[in-house]
C-alpha cells in the first residue's frame, strides 16, 4: 500500500528536474529556486508518508519489466525495507534542508535553474540507487549520482581548474564503476540473477565460503565502493571536488553520494560474508583511509578541504565497521555523519558567503562574535564529529563501531579507531580555532555580512544542529533484523572499558589540541616552518603525495603515449582525404565570386564543351 508514496518520493525530484531543465532558465531565479526546493520538500513529505505506512516487513514493488532477454528479465522494481527507508529519509530530509540553504547560498549566482535541475536529478538518482531491488537499477542510480557529481563540481565552469576537478572526480570514480560493472557481470554469470534478494539467497548455496569466485566478486564490488566512497587508493578526487558550491559538497560529497559505497556493501552483506578475507580487507582499507585522511586534515588551510578529508576519515570508520561485520553500526554512523557533516558544510558555507568567498583559514579568524549562527553550527557539528561523550549523535555511532571492532577481537582496527578519534579531536579544534578565534586575517573576515534570513539560513542550520545532538542518535531505529548478527550482539562484557577508552581518546585529542593550539602556538609554528616538522607538514598538506604519485605513474605516461600516437603515419594517411577535400574546396570557393556575368560565361563555356563532345564523339551528333 506504500507504493504510491515511494514512487512519488522519487518522481517529484525528477519532475523538478524536467521542469527546470525544459524552462531553460526562462523562469527567473526566484521561481527556479522555489521549484527546486519544493520538489525535494514534497519528496521528503512523501518519504515521511511512506515511513508511516511501512508495515514493518520488507515489501517489493514491481513497476514494470525493463527488458526481457530469455531468462534475463530485470524489472524496474523497488525493494522497500528499513534500510531503504532510512536512506530515503536521510536523502530527502537532509537533502531538503541543504536545498533550502542553497537558496540562500546561491542567491545572485548565474544559472540557478541549472543548479537546481542537477540537484533534483541527484536526489532522484540517489533515491533510485537505494530503492532498486536489483543491481542493474542500483547501477543506474549509481551512474546517475556520478554524473550529477561531475556536473555540480564543474558548476563554476568559467574557471578551468573547476572543470579539471570535475574531470578528475568523474574519471577516478569511473575506475571504480568499471570494477562494479565487472562485478555485476560476474555475479550474473555465476548466479544467473541481479535481483539483490535472489543474490543473497543463491550465493551461499552455490559458493563455498572463501571460494575464489566469491572472493573475486566481492573484490570487484569493493572496487566500485572504494571509488564512490573516496577510500584509498581511489580517494584523490574528493578534496578536489570541493571546487563545487558548498551545498553540493554538503549533499553529495558528505551526506549522501560518498556513502553509497557503504550502502552497497551493507546491502550485499551476504556476498561479503562469503569472502571473509575481502571483508577484512574492507576494514583495513577503511582504517588506512581514516588515518591517512585524518593526518592530511591536520595540515590543510582551506576549511572545505579540512572537511573533505574529515569526510574521508569518517567514511573510513564506516568501512571499518563493515570490515568487522557490524553492518548496522556502519549504517548508524552513516546517518549521524550525514547530519553533522551536512551541518558542518552548511556552516562553512555560511562563513564562506559572509566573508565574500573567503575559505582560507589563514585569512579567516575571530569570527565567533560576528557570525554566531555559523559558530554555533560549527561547535555542535564539530563536537559530533569528535564524538563528544553522551550529548552528541557522533558519540553513539562511533562508540558502536569501536565496540564492534573490540567485540570482533580485532585489536588492530580498534587501535586505529582510537588513534583516529584522537586525530579527529585535534583537526576539529584546529579548524574551529583557525576559523572563529584569533585575529582576523583579512578585511573580509574583519567585516563579514552575517546571513539573516530566518527560513533559508537559520532554519536548516538549527534543524541539523538538533539532529547532530543525541536526539539524532535516538531517531535511529536500528536495523539489526535486516543484517546478519554483529559480533558484539548480546555481549556486554568489556563495553564499559571500551567506552572509557573511547572517551579517553576524545578527551586526549581535545586536550592535546587545546594545549598545542592555545599554549604552544608559536612553538608549533616554529616546528612547522623548518626541518622535520616542515617536511611532515608538506607531506600531510599534499595528503601523503597520492596525487603526485598517480600523476607520475598514470597521468603523465598516458599523456606521453597520446602525444606519441598523435603524429604517427596512420594518422597522416587519415588526414590525406581531409587535405584533398580542403584544397578542392578552396579552389571551388573561388569560382563562386557572386558575379552573374561570369556565371553566364562559364555556363556558356560548359554548354559549348558538352555540345562539342557530343558532336565529335564517335556515333554522336546523330
Amino acid at each position: 500500500m506504500m507504493a504510491p508514496a515511494v514512487v512519488l518520493s522519487f518522481l517529484l525530484p525528477l519532475a523538478g528536474t524536467l521542469l527546470l531543465a525544459l524552462s531553460a532558465g526562462r523562469l527567473g531565479a526566484r521561481t527556479s529556486a522555489t521549484i527546486g526546493v519544493a520538489s525535494v520538500g514534497l519528496a521528503a513529505l512523501a518519504t515521511a508518508w511512506a515511513v508511516t505506512l511501512y508495515p514493518g516487513s520488507p515489501e517489493n514493488v514491481t513497476l514494470w519489466t525493463w527488458i526481457a532477454v530469455g531468462d534475463f528479465r530485470p524489472t524496474i522494481g523497488l525493494a522497500v525495507d528499513g534500510l531503504a527507508l532510512m536512506m530515503m529519509s536521510v536523502i530527502t530530509g537532509v537533502g531538503f534542508l541543504i536545498h533550502l540553504f542553497a537558496a540562500w547560498y546561491m542567491k545572485g549566482e548565474a544559472g540557478i535553474a541549472r543548479f537546481y535541475a542537477w540537484m533534483n536529478l541527484f536526489v532522484f538518482s540517489m533515491l533510485l540507487l537505494v530503492l532498486g531491488d536489483n543491481l542493474l537499477l542500483l547501477f543506474l542510480g549509481w551512474e546517475g549520482v556520478g554524473l550529477c557529481s561531475y556536473l555540480l563540481i564543474g558548476y563554476y565552469y568559467h574557471n578551468s581548474a573547476n572543470g579539471q576537478a570535475a574531470f578528475k572526480a568523474f574519471i577516478v570514480t569511473r575506475i571504480g564503476d568499471v570494477f562494479l560493472a565487472l562485478g555485476l557481470f560476474l555475479i550474473f554469470r555465476e548466479l544467473g540473477t541481479l535481483d539483490i534478494g535472489e543474490i543473497l539467497v543463491r550465493a551461499p548455496q552455490l559458493w563455498q565460503e572463501g571460494s575464489t569466485t566469491a572472493n573475486i566478486a566481492a573484490l570487484l564490488v569493493l572496487g566500485g565502493a572504494l571509488g564512490k566512497s573516496a577510500q584509498v587508493p581511489l580517494h584523490t578526487w574528493l578534496p578536489d571536488a570541493m571546487a563545487g558550491p558548498t551545498p553540493v559538497s554538503a549533499l553529495i560529497h558528505a551526506a549522501t553520494m560518498v556513502t553509497a559505497g557503504v550502502y552497497l556493501i551493507a546491502r550485499l552483506n551476504g556476498l561479503f560474508l562469503l569472502a571473509p578475507d575481502v571483508l577484512l580487507l574492507v576494514g583495513v582499507i577503511g582504517a588506512v583511509s581514516m588515518l591517512l585522511a585524518a593526518f592530511a586534515a591536520l595540515a590543510q588551510t582551506d576549511i572545505k578541504r579540512v572537511l573533505a578529508y574529515s569526510t574521508m576519515s569518517q567514511i573510513g570508520y564506516m568501512f571499518l565497521a563493515l570490515g568487522v561485520g557490524a553492518f548496522d553500526a556502519a549504517i548508524f554512523h552513516l546517518v549521524t555523519h550525514a547530519f553533522f557533516k551536512a551541518l558542518l558544510f552548511l556552516s562553512a558555507g555560511a562563513v564562506i558567503i559572509s566573508c565574500h568567498h573567503e575559505q582560507d583559514m589563514a585569512r579567516l579568524g575571530g569570527l565567533w562574535r560576528r557570525l554566531p549562527v555559523a559558530y554555533g553550527g560549527f561547535l555542535v557539528g564539530g563536537s559530533a564529529l569528535v564524538a563528544l561523550p553522551l550529548v552528541t549523535a557522533g558519540f553513539y555511532s562511533k562508540d558502536e563501531i569501536l565496540w564492534q571492532a573490540m567485540a570482533a577481537g580485532n585489536n588492530g582496527l580498534l587501535l586505529a579507531g582510537l588513534l583516529g578519534a584522537v586525530l579527529t579531536g585535534i583537526y576539529t579544534v584546529r579548524l574551529i580555532l583557525g576559523t572563529f578565534h584569533g585575529e582576523a586575517g583579512s578585511d573580509h573576515s574583519r567585516h563579514p555580512e552575517p546571513g539573516t534570513n530566518l527560513i533559508t539560513h537559520h532554519l536548516p542550520l538549527v534543524v541539523l544542529a538538533i539532529l547532530s545532538t543525541f536526539i539524532g542518535a535516538w531517531l535511529y531505529p536500528g536495523l539489526d533484523r535486516l543484517f546478519p548478527s554483529a559480533p558484539g550482539e548480546g555481549v556486554e562484557e568489556g563495553h564499559t572499558l571500551l567506552q572509557v577508552l573511547a572517551i579517553g581518546a576524545v578527551v586526549a585529542g581535545l586536550a592535546l589540541a587545546g594545549w598545542l593550539f592555545m599554549m604552544r602556538r608559536e612553538w608549533l609554528q616554529r616546528q612547522a616552518s623548518h626541518g622535520t616538522g616542515r617536511r611532515l607538514w608538506s607531506v600531510w598538506h599534499h595528503a601523503w603525495g597520492f596525487d603526485g604519485l598517480f600523476d607520475r605513474l598514470l597521468v603523465r605516461p598516458w599523456q606521453l603515449m597520446v602525444n606519441l600516437l598523435r603524429h604517427d603515419l596512420v594518422n597522416l594517411a587519415m588526414n590525406l582525404p581531409a587535405l584533398i577535400a580542403r584544397v578542392l574546396n578552396a579552389g571551388l570557393v573561388r569560382t563562386q565570386n557572386g558575379r552573374m556575368r561570369s556565371y553566364a560565361t562559364v555556363m556558356v563555356l560548359g554548354v559549348t564543351v558538352i555540345l562539342a563532345v557530343l558532336a565529335l564523339a564517335p556515333g554522336g551528333a546523330a
Binding site: 565570386n593 557572386g594 558575379r595
Partner: protein, 102 residues
C-alpha cells in the same frame, strides 16, 4: 515567303543569338543584359518560325506565341529586379551586386 531559303533565316537567328549571348556576357548594365536576353529569346523564336514555314507545320507558330508570352513575363520580373537593384545600390551595374560570393 518561299523566296528566302531556310538557311538564311537560321543564320540570321544564330547571329542574333550570338549577339545576345555576347551582350549577356560582356555588358555590365542590367538594362542591356535584359535587352540581350530579349534578343536571345526572340532569335530562338525566329528559328521556330523559320522552321515552321519551311516544313509547313503550325507548331512553330504556336511556339512563337509561347515564347512571346515567356518574354513578356521575363521582362516584367527582370524590370522589377532592376528597380530593386537600383534602389539598393543606386546603380545598374550588375557587378555591384556580388555579395553572394564564396
Amino acid at each position: 515567303m518561299n523566296g528566302i531559303p531556310m538557311e538564311h533565316g537560321l543564320i540570321l537567328a544564330s547571329v542574333l543569338f550570338s549577339l545576345g549571348l555576347a551582350g549577356l556576357m560582356l555588358r555590365r548594365n542590367m538594362l542591356f543584359v535584359l535587352m540581350s536576353l530579349e534578343v536571345m529569346l526572340n532569335s530562338a523564336a525566329l528559328a521556330f518560325v523559320v522552321g515552321s514555314t519551311a516544313w509547313n507545320q503550325p507548331d512553330g507558330q504556336a511556339m512563337f506565341l509561347l515564347v512571346i508570352t515567356l518574354a513578356a513575363a521575363e521582362a516584367s520580373v527582370g524590370l522589377a529586379l532592376m528597380i530593386q537593384l537600383y534602389q539598393r545600390f543606386h546603380s545598374l551595374n550588375l557587378d555591384a551586386a556580388s555579395r553572394m560570393r564564396g
